[in-house]
Symmetry: D2
Subunit: 126 residues, 4 copies
């Protein structure tokens, strides 16, 4: 998260916000935030949201995610909100919404659905 | 792409390779490359592959992509290959495979399907 | 929709409900509704929701969709709700939530994100 | 599968073909096969491909899938091929390609990536 300047700004059980300040090196050829940056922020928010409902000592791995870009992501601040839809013993599914704030206005710029896996002990490689 | 140290290493019509050298700030908590980094590399490869078949002057936008993480992405070098499956006038669909190279061995670590849009002139905001 | 016994039960601008009565030939090996049936119902709901905001004479085509199965889909009645997240001139993005009703209780059993395309005149093959 | 007239025509370890004969009640408003039908066939092919590599007694559940429609699916015969990309103890990832055959010609009409889960014993509800 440090690479893209993201930080955790809110942690509730099953819901986490990741904030990102726009930076020159994160925008693509048209001056908007790159889809990969939005995906990284939303994936992190989803991962932490999933982790917040897992037992102590567990780790979280992204199995897969899908993201739709809804509008050009311009603005001085981006908020990625991860919310758990369904928490299972092994598999947790999350929504990740990305909102851009520019000139006092907000706009939904991307929406993600992510599947996360609970990893216990040394199970990292399945 | 510069933010994650990625570079275009091969461009053919409909097929593009993006290379990434592993770097300490791109790995997540377990020492593997973060899913967001893999997604960024694969999305870039898919976008350039789509662009390679578009008419001169066109630009490309990611409508959506979905990525599955198949194995922990460790290694000194990552190659994301974007290939066009179907090139339409408006919508182009691409596969993006991400391979990790470690100690002379290669492993498929992620697979993406991405939908790209051709943007002509000032159509950027649809 | 007739093949799976689905019917349109509510149409609002940008929001459509498709109802499905459970039937023996729609369940898979464990007695639950097959993922393909849930996907068909949700895709139809999303397609009609997108169409409800398109100009007269337009048709709708599914570009892609992704569905997560959240819980076994058992019950006497299934409701798939399609909602437009973003309506563009060419591309419309929708959420599709599938809820199962059994013994007076409801449960979210699947969630979809779908990308729909507006088709005007003879543009069907892009 | 019987509902849509699909049948298993080839089973190899990690690779399965499901065949579908076009039928009047499976086409949508433009005379092409409905996206939900393509998704059902591809999901079945992926599920059986995953199952073919699982230990005896295991069952398979679709966690999620994503499908891109690449071309209008017309033709007298449809073949959905499921192939395992990665078989894990818990999670298996598959590609599912759908090809249409019309007048002696074949065309790739849809491509899926699906995540399947191995279910042992009574784990069905996770």
């Amino acid at each position: 998260m440090a690479t893209i300047g993201a930080s955790l700004v809110r942690i509730e059980p099953g819901e986490v916000d990741v904030e990102l300040r726009s930076r020159d090196d994160l925008v693509q050829q048209h001056g908007f935030l790159h889809a990969g940056v939005l995906a990284s922020a939303a994936d992190s928010a989803c991962g932490f949201a999933a982790l917040s409902l897992m037992p102590p000592g567990a780790a979280v791995l992204s199995i897969e995610f899908k993201i739709n870009m809804l509008a050009p992501a311009a603005g001085e601040r981006i908020l990625a909100r991860g919310r758990v839809i369904r928490a299972g013993k092994t598999v947790t599914v999350c929504w990740g919404d990305v909102t851009a704030y520019a000139d006092g206005r907000e706009k939904l710029v991307a929406t993600m659905v992510a599947t996360m896996m609970t990893v216990q002990g040394r199970g990292l490689t399945d």
